[in-house]
């Protein structure tokens, strides 16, 4: 996948995360076959790629959607027509498309990491939104916001130091551990 090439330039969020998430660690069987060693590297990178994709699609999606909806105007109604009308705006369409990417990447990430890991780590999107406001839209970022950005950074770096998945993994083909079911 093309995103793999972007990994070197990726957010440094998860560099502290131990590489073996569940099932990717070397065992005698996998060392002999050498299969999981090959698989564990892209596996780990892809988790980071998903985080990057999730954050970027979330930020750009919210941004284009917010812009588009302000063009459309007031939208509080229990009738579906105003919503359908809003979808005709190109900015809203791009925003919705990006949020579909966001949904798929979020579900994919949830299949690999804990919810309590994903939520804080993906909150970098707030930092990105604020920085985008400062550098692209030339909105001034207040001192309060900078303190907030610092707190988010600190929180993310704490959570990123934990093992991404602690809950037992179930598999649809039975209750075998993930690596055995593969």
């Amino acid at each position: 996948m093309a995103h793999d090439q972007a990994d070197s330039a990726e957010l440094q969020l998860t560099h502290e995360v131990p590489a073996p998430i569940l099932g990717a660690g070397p065992s005698t069987a996998t060392l002999a076959a050498g299969v999981f060693e090959d698989r564990s590297q892209p596996f780990c990178l892809k988790t980071r790629t998903i985080i990057l994709l999730l954050v970027v699609s979330n930020v750009l999606g919210n941004f284009t959607l917010s812009r588009g909806l302000h063009e459309v105007g007031r939208l509080v109604s229990f009738s579906p027509w105003p919503y359908i009308h809003a979808f005709l705006n190109p900015l809203v369409e791009v925003g919705v498309l990006l949020l579909i990417v966001w949904l798929i990447s979020q579900l994919s990430l949830l299949s690999r990491v804990d919810l309590s890991y994903m939520l804080p780590v993906t909150s970098v999107s707030y930092v990105l939104t604020a920085l985008m406001g400062e550098f692209l839209l030339h909105e001034r970022v207040s001192t309060e916001s900078w303190i907030g950005i610092g707190l988010i950074g600190l929180g993310v770096s704490l959570v990123a130091r934990t093992v991404p998945r602690t809950a037992p993994v179930l598999h649809k083909f039975g209750d075998l551990p993930y690596e055995a079911a593969q």
Partner: protein, 121 residues
């Protein structure tokens, strides 16, 4: 109206996150991101009972956010969602049985406070 929308963002959003986590954990790891594999993934996820509730709940939360964004700024919409970091971490511990040590608690709290400050500024 604004506060009703906030409730419609937070409550279905929280339910959606918990159910989606359960559904995805049952589905197994997603590791193939080629277009065909993604279509197959969507087809397989369509049969998941957890996602059958979780994704519509997410859509409710999403449309409520859309509606709120059309009458208020993002800075009004975001603070309420900041509190959900700690709430959802607690739900992850008790419902999803995730192991949450001090790093995750502290991280979720710091992120919640940070999100509040960033969106007020």
């Amino acid at each position: 109206m604004r506060w009703l929308l906030i409730a419609l963002i937070v409550i279905p959003g929280t339910i959606a996150d918990v159910l989606n986590t359960m559904g995805m954990r049952r589905n197994g790891e997603v590791y193939d991101f080629r277009p065909y594999a993604i279509l197959r993934l969507i087809a397989s996820l369509a049969r998941s009972p957890h996602l059958a509730v979780g994704v519509p709940a997410m859509a409710v939360s999403f449309f409520a956010l859309m509606a709120l964004l059309s009458i208020a700024n993002l800075s009004f919409a975001v603070p309420a969602t900041a509190s959900s970091y700690v709430l959802e971490t607690a739900l992850a511990k008790y419902i999803l049985k995730e192991h949450i040590g001090w790093r995750r608690w502290a991280g979720a709290s710091l992120v919640g406070c940070g999100v509040l400050l960033v969106s007020r500024g």
